[in-house]
């Protein structure tokens, strides 16, 4: 991490168990985090670290150092490819990748996640897509992502990707007619059969999650 980051947070951050306890309460499998011996095996295994964010090791150390803002606004949990090699290498058997996913989720709930992180943008677009169709409509997903910053940007991005798009269409991996969903029509893409059932499932899951959050918060 760079010096500017540490200097700003060090003044208020404390090495203690406060943030650790918060993570144990709110992040799935967070109770494993305290078992970290800082050996660095996960950092060595992680293919995402070269993207420039924090390694799992330094994220876990930042938790110990009480640097809450740095951890929750870090791009590192969003950089995670979920390859799981960190957990395989960990001599303390910590489910590292699961904790990173949990940290990303918790940061998102708190509104502290890095807004413009490309993987966050993709993840939210995927989720929106799945929620509406019950499965991914790839053509629609790609189009929405390309046009997320306005029409002119979108056209520009589409032209840049046109060679790839043509090849995908020829190979029948991309169906242009699925784009009908953008204007509320369905020419070819098949979502799940019973979308009302899917919505009930999701509503129930949200209610359970909210109930659990309320219960955890009341501890």
């Amino acid at each position: 991490m760079n010096a500017a980051d540490t200097q700003t947070v060090t003044d208020t951050a404390r090495y203690d168990t406060g943030f650790l306890r918060e993570i144990e309460t709110h992040v799935g499998q967070g109770e494993w985090l305290k078992m970290c011996t800082q050996c660095g095996a996960c950092a060595g295994a992680c293919p995402s670290e070269r993207a420039g964010g924090h390694s799992p090791q330094s994220l876990f150390m930042l938790v110990r150092a009480g640097q809450r803002e740095t951890v929750l606004s870090s791009g590192a949990p969003w950089d995670c490819l979920s390859c799981g090699d960190c957990g395989v290498q960990c001599p303390s058997r910590i489910p590292v990748a699961n904790i990173l996913a949990g940290l990303a989720h918790y940061a998102e709930q708190l509104g502290l996640a890095p807004r413009e992180h490309p993987n966050r943008v993709l993840a939210l677009a995927c989720w929106d897509n799945i929620e509406r169709h019950g499965r991914i409509n790839e053509a629609e997903l790609e189009t929405r992502l390309k046009f997320r910053d306005g029409f002119a940007q979108g056209i520009n991005r589409c032209l840049n990707a046109k060679d790839l798009a043509v090849r995908l269409i020829k190979a029948e991996r991309l169906a242009p007619k699925a784009l009908g969903s953008l204007i509320g029509l369905n020419f070819g893409h098949r979502g799940v059969k019973e979308k009302s059932g899917l919505r009930k499932i999701l509503a129930k899951a949200r209610a359970l999650e909210a109930a659990r959050a309320k219960e955890d918060g009341g501890d």
Binding site: M1, A3, T17, C36, T37, Q38, Q57, M61, R64, A65
Partner: protein, 402 residues
């Protein structure tokens, strides 16, 4: 005597143990249980040595996760109950004469035991076990860690006394008697150091001891903040591994880093350190700072290379020392004060046949190893008696070049 070579329990077959700490008592109990008359000479008024001042010890038994009782009281009562063991308290060995010269005969030691306020006792022994123990490195040399200026900067040994005084209640800080809510353990304070005047060696036990002491706090109240600053943790073996993980499970905050300073602040002690994982300097306030200072042997010259017999005269007499160290210039130089009165390859032997070393007077070690070491020295002493009974010389290292 029915067998010509059987060990006897005559006057020359008794065993003298100098030091009534855990290694000395373990040695004495072992020799007494083997049927030999054994005499313990202890300089203080109580048996137990350093361990008698401690509240608990690192675990002996699987799953190696919890602080255990030291077992001092049990060992003392075993010693006191054994009819073959005589204990002289407040006493020292003021003279030890032994046959010397090339044609050395092991055994035949004559010791003058000077008891505080009593008459001297002269006794004959077949073998001598030196288990004079250790004392902490002088923390006054660690002024930069605030030891000289702040009552709340203590050594691990002093924390043991605070913990013992607390009697499983809240541990209170010395300056104002307030219950400690945050404690910082600084490992390798004045040891494993390249600074002149500090120890270059590792005292072996302090990482485990610090985890144990953090548990004193965590077990009484899990919300007490315990931080352990280390350069590298040395908790070897299954026992060490399990105990470290137990410390992690109890949410001791382990920080790999280097300490810089301890100064006083408005709400307590302000410790400055650098986190080596995040590569970031940090300052934080603590109620108590505990220094893991090194071990210093009792009764062994500080530096045999310089023939500097800087030793506590209460521990042991010059005559004994001469017998133990022998030709000091031939001793291999080891780290710090532990210049190895013990000889390489012969873990209990000294330059003098029939005199054996046990425990932390020889090498830094923890309670468990010191007790095993006492039993090992007892075995060598018994072996030595047996060899004498068989008319052989005892095991010794020939210090002369061949």
């Amino acid at each position: 005597m029915t067998h010509a070579h059987a060990p006897t329990s005559g006057a020359d077959q008794a065993i003298l143990v100098v030091g009534g700490g855990m290694s000395g008592m373990s040695a004495a109990l072992a020799t007494a249980r083997a049927g030999q008359r054994t005499v313990i000479v202890e300089k203080s008024a109580v048996l137990g040595g350093a361990m008698a001042r401690m509240r608990g010890c690192t675990p002996r038994r699987p799953p190696y996760t919890d602080v255990e009782d030291t077992g001092v009281a049990e060992l003392i009562s075993d010693i006191e109950a054994h009819e073959l063991v005589t204990v002289y308290r407040n006493s020292s060995v003021s003279e030890l004469t032994a046959p010397t010269g090339d044609a050395v005969t092991p055994g035949g030691f004559v010791a003058k035991i000077t008891a505080g306020g009593g008459d001297d006792v002269v006794d004959r022994f077949g073998a001598v076990i030196l288990a004079t123990g250790w004392r902490p490195y002088d923390a006054h040399r660690l002024g930069y860690l605030g030891y000289n200026d702040h009552a709340d900067v203590v050594t691990q040994m002093e924390l043991e006394e605070l913990a013992k005084a607390a009697d499983f209640g809240p541990i209170k800080r010395p300056s104002d008697g307030r219950a400690v809510r945050s404690v910082l353990f600084l490992q390798c304070a004045g040891q494993r150091s390249l600074v002149e005047g500090e120890l270059s060696g590792c005292a072996n036990h302090c990482c485990m001891t610090a985890i144990k002491q953090a548990m004193y706090f965590k077990d009484s109240d899990p919300d007490i903040e315990t931080t352990l600053l280390y350069s590298d943790l040395r908790t070897p073996g299954a026992r060490g591994e399990q105990f470290l993980r137990a410390g992690l499970r109890k949410a001791v905050t382990f920080v790999r880093g280097r300490f810089d300073s301890v100064v006083s602040g408005p709400a307590g002690l302000i410790a400055g350190f650098t986190d080596e994982i995040l590569d970031a300097p940090h300052r934080q306030t603590y109620d108590l700072v505990v220094l893991a200072t090194g071990m210093h042997p009792n009764g062994i010259p500080v530096d045999t290379r310089n023939n500097d017999k800087d030793t506590d005269p209460e521990d042991i007499s010059e005559t004994v020392l001469d017998a133990v160290v022998g030709d000091a210039t031939r001793q291999p130089p080891l780290a710090d004060a532990y210049t190895a009165a013990a000889l390489p390859g012969l873990p209990y032997a000294t330059a003098h046949p029939g005199i054996f070393l046990a425990g932390a007077s020889k090498q830094p070690m923890d309670l468990h190893r010191a007790m095993e070491d006492g039993i090992g020295a007892a075995l060598k002493a018994l072996q030595s008696l047996s060899r004498v009974a068989h008319g052989e010389g005892s095991e010794r290292m020939d210090n002369k070049p061949s």
